[in-house]
Symmetry: C3
Subunit: 461 residues, 3 copies
């Protein structure tokens, strides 16, 4: 609560400048797309001639969009409330940086792959993509949770969204990679970017805040709200921008079974790795979601429920082992202080998902996909490349993603180290009181005591 | 906990009489509409001839309905749990009056604009409208939160739903006003109605309950659940009853960007107006939603994302300033005790939304809307009125709404003052214990102490 | 925390063996159905010839599926967090057994009514059915909540899912019963199965854990999250697998009004039956949902909103009376220790729903249903049976369900009594500490005290 962390001017200036820039750029660059523009939609007739209202992309994607939206704002936000005194920062900063990132992502993604005659065309699909890109920023947020100011987080979001869009452009447009649920573009990218940032921001005396870097009973229940929402809606996440019809349907179902299998292996591993057989909430809240991450690339493919379950089963095992044995090593040896363990939930399962996607691509045949091959692997269907070549491209995409994420995180980490952004010192990490007005603080001791006495009298009847 | 506040007979009698009247009126007046009736839907053929199942309005509106439903019951309910000892009343009375209001609204709205041959026809659109009307009652509930008995709230709902339906009829049917997301009909109406009610119910010695009229750490987190759900699903709210196709799509997108911009200006203003730069949860929970309110009228129009963001940006600023500077004045000078600050979240942003709607209507041209003009401004499309005339009508509608809300609130406020409804006295406001069985009350002191000691022993290892 | 309850090996072995068996069986038996398979979906053409993407069953059912999914994982999970120290077990074990049950149910239900050429075909409809079956297991979980180990719960799920599928097969396939929302197959079955299990597992000295078998203020608020989600999404639950078009639409609406009426009668009855007129959270959290249970069979029929409201109104009354007067009798006289009172929420309202369904079926006429008769009562439409015969079949189905549930619960109860599953002893029921790593346990006394002192200093300013 020194002057350095005072947000009185830093945060308003950052917020206002960013939002005004966004508004100007939207004014200059952004237009309704065909399905949201009153004139364009009605130009092609409506009803018996031309398209009908039920063909509007809104009805194919909006329910999935809302599920994704819940994952971004409730899922990520509440998952991080496990910290006993950082609930406001978890939900609140998650809210702030997500609201910024989705606007900035609209522009960046539009710039790289949504330009039509100098204008960015937007609709429900671009909204989902913007939320996806935001998810990547929130994963990185998980790595630095409790150790950064809101201004630092906004600065991080500016750069990360930009690099996300570059990486996405290289993969999806230049390389023709398939990654509908973002095992690579979202999870691997967000995790390794965040891990590198937290490495650069390494705090040697963070143990001063150690007693606040843990959960209490009720904070773990709040975190379960976030975890369960992420788990439930992951099928919508992975299927939100796949092709219409069987593709969306199949992707949702593959993810559903991957997650279910992952949950069983997570519970099993959690009890197995505890010295007294007790389940650890950290595993349940995080590792049980790894099945969704790992089905992000191959979910839209003919992975079969059988294959999905194997993937989910492995993801849960890897993730619990990561929390138990790898995270302490990363912290001690590599000086990576990963607050939420994003390496275990998004990093390793993301890599697993990328590998599964590469293998599943490499074995794709027209025999299995039939006429649907064009939807899933258009370049294979048009015989521009073979399935095994597609598999190689998928594997290369993982390397590209890791490279951009690590290099980007390195640079952005150093930018965030500039001592002007109001970062908390080591004794005040994981503590809402620095950036938030705390409830009850303004009441006098006497008043509170009176209330408390009254209450306990009442309680004790 | 005097006899006056004892609900043993008052509440059951009110509930049973109201529900029995509702059941009788539904039996006499209500029928399935074309899309819900087995015979009528199948009369026009199904499949290749006549309409297909996917043309049933259910598939266009039910996902939006469920989002609205979540806003009404979780959104409003939990937003109000910020009070430290009024969580049961917030969620519970919200639940009760919403369940009543949606039934009564079905009848009142049906009576005014859903009659077909003496019968009220209902389906998913009427369900959304009923939830909308309920939302208005819940806004007024926010103004009187903690100071009224459940019987008073039910009485208020009876009158408010009725007046809502009258105002809605005047606007939408008689004047031809456009207000799909209800900046006027829902937010402005609900806010000023509630503010007038709380003015009439002014309690000069409410400071006796002051120490309970604030939040604690966990209650603020519960309130964030409500706030975030309202924020996420507002695009569904504003687009739930617009025309199919591009209209629903565009409205959802405009609202999405308005809210995002609003969130940034809210965070900025919250830090700027605090003496030490700390963010205030009250602002984050409320002002960040003002962008949804302000996009309620113009959201379906060709406002453009650019315009939506400007509207949201302003709404956030106005709302925080209202909480910080206007609410204390309203309380001290005008004796308006507005528990949740509905004037800042629904009142002023509602008026802003109405003005934006009037201006956007006045500048509508066929050039911009093309064939979609018929959907958004049917009377302008049919050349019954000019766009600028439509704009004037929108402005007049705001005045009509304010008039009916204030006059209605005045009368209903005096009705609620009748000393028979079991209102709490000034020392027991904001306290669940009056109307709710409190957990733990029936256990003896010794038992509780034992448990507590056990727990703290466990906790302290 | 004796060796018996140590899950170090028991739980991992159970989870891994079960999941590996599931994966093998999925590999051998399960295939994508027509709407999820890339080849099959595209075989019949796409676009102008053959079906279009919007005809894929995904778009008719996936939004409903996600609502059902929320009910299963958030609804049931959080509803049970009302216990002060069993929140981890409530949400966590709910999560575990649901994730297992939905996979096992896919196989069992597929085996009984989804086989095509030796393969089980799956898609969104089978996913909904799997979630439904899971719901039944979770109802039984409610009866034994806090008194069983996770291994016992998994064993129970294995048998209950199997018997559920048998009963469902007898009713829906052999008898031609209609039960879209599962008043019989899900609620009655799950409740009486669970009641019989808890009867067999009767604990004579359970009062040793009595002080933990109750709620605290915040745990009741967490439970309200679950309750409200169940309430809101019940219309989606009952309509999720009815026929497309008017059927889904009508079912959702009937349920909506049934629940609204039920809420008013619940609040009325709760105040009426309390000695001091105070509302009881147990009633609000549970009895207000009975209207959804009771509309489970007749919801898809031409019950009319009027009829639905009467059903809901009665369900609320019965349920509160059950909590107040019947549950204590069941516990004392019949030795049925029903932790969550599932008899009042699922048992009696389920029976009421079955009876309403039988009566509504018996009076069905072509005059009322028109061409829709084929959708709702195909055997009556094809004149294979009369409406009154259908009504008799519905009544017989209730008896069959009760028989299988009670007999099944009896046998499974005795299996669960085997002393190898790590069940807690009577002093450690309703206590998370046995199976869960409790937060804060590993910190030393001094550290915690320091934190606490700091915090209270801050709090008292």
């Amino acid at each position: 609560m020194t002057d350095a962390t005072n947000m009185r001017l830093k945060l308003p200036i950052t917020c206002f400048i960013l939002e005004i820039i966004l508004i100007i750029l939207f004014g200059v660059l952004v237009e309704y797309d065909h399905d949201t523009d009153a004139r364009k939609w009605h130009e092609h007739g409506n009803g018996t001639h031309g398209h009908s209202d039920y063909e509007n992309d809104f009805y194919y994607r909006y329910p999935s969009f809302q599920d994704v939206h819940v994952m971004i704002f409730i899922g990520f936000g509440f998952l991080m409330t496990f910290l006993q005194r950082y609930g406001f920062g978890s939900v609140g900063f998650n809210f702030l940086i997500a609201a910024f990132a989705l606007q900035w992502a609209t522009l960046m993604q539009g710039f790289f792959h949504g330009m039509h005659g100098g204008k960015i065309h937007i609709g429900v699909e671009s909204m989902i993509n913007a939320d996806f890109c935001t998810g990547s920023v929130l994963i990185s947020f998980g790595a630095v949770l409790g150790k950064t100011s809101p201004v630092q987080l906004l600065i991080m979001a500016i750069f990360e969204v930009t690099l996300f869009a570059v990486n996405e452009y290289i993969l999806l447009t230049l390389l023709g990679t398939k990654d509908a649920g973002g095992s690579m573009t979202i999870h691997t990218f967000g995790a390794y970017f965040g891990l590198m940032v937290t490495r650069v921001l390494y705090r040697p005396t963070l143990e001063k805040s150690k007693h606040k870097n843990c959960s209490v009973y009720h904070s773990d229940l709040f975190a379960m709200i976030g975890a369960i929402y992420l788990w439930m809606f992951w099928p919508s996440f992975n299927s939100a921008i796949t092709e219409h019809g069987d593709d969306q349907h199949r992707t949702a179902m593959n993810t559903y079974y991957s997650l279910a299998a992952c949950t069983l292996s997570t519970f099993g591993m959690s009890a197995l790795t505890a010295h007294d057989g007790k389940l650890d909430m950290v595993h349940i809240q995080n590792a049980a979601l790894a099945g969704g991450v790992a089905a992000g690339t191959a979910g839209e493919m003919m992975l079969t429920p059988f294959g999905s379950m194997i993937v989910g089963f492995l993801a849960g095992i890897i993730s619990v082992l990561g929390f138990k044995y790898l995270s302490p090593v990363l912290e001690e040896k590599l000086k990576i202080q990963d607050t939420c363990g994003v390496h275990n939930l998004h990093g390793m399962p993301g890599i697993l998902g990328a590998i599964v996607g590469a293998v599943t691509s490499a074995v794709a045949t027209r025999d299995v996909y039939g006429g649907g091959l064009e939807d899933v692997f258009p370049l294979v269907a048009s015989e521009e490349r073979t399935a095994s070549y597609q598999g190689s491209v998928q594997a290369i995409s993982l390397a590209v993603t890791l490279g951009i994420a690590l290099l980007g995180g390195l640079i952005v980490g150093f930018i965030l180290k500039l001592p002007v952004f109001g970062s908390p010192n080591d004794t005040h990490c994981f503590e809402d009181g620095i950036y938030w007005e705390m409830p009850g603080e303004e009441e006098s001791h006497e008043e509170l005591t009176t209330v408390r006495t009254e209450e306990s009298e009442k309680l004790n009847g």
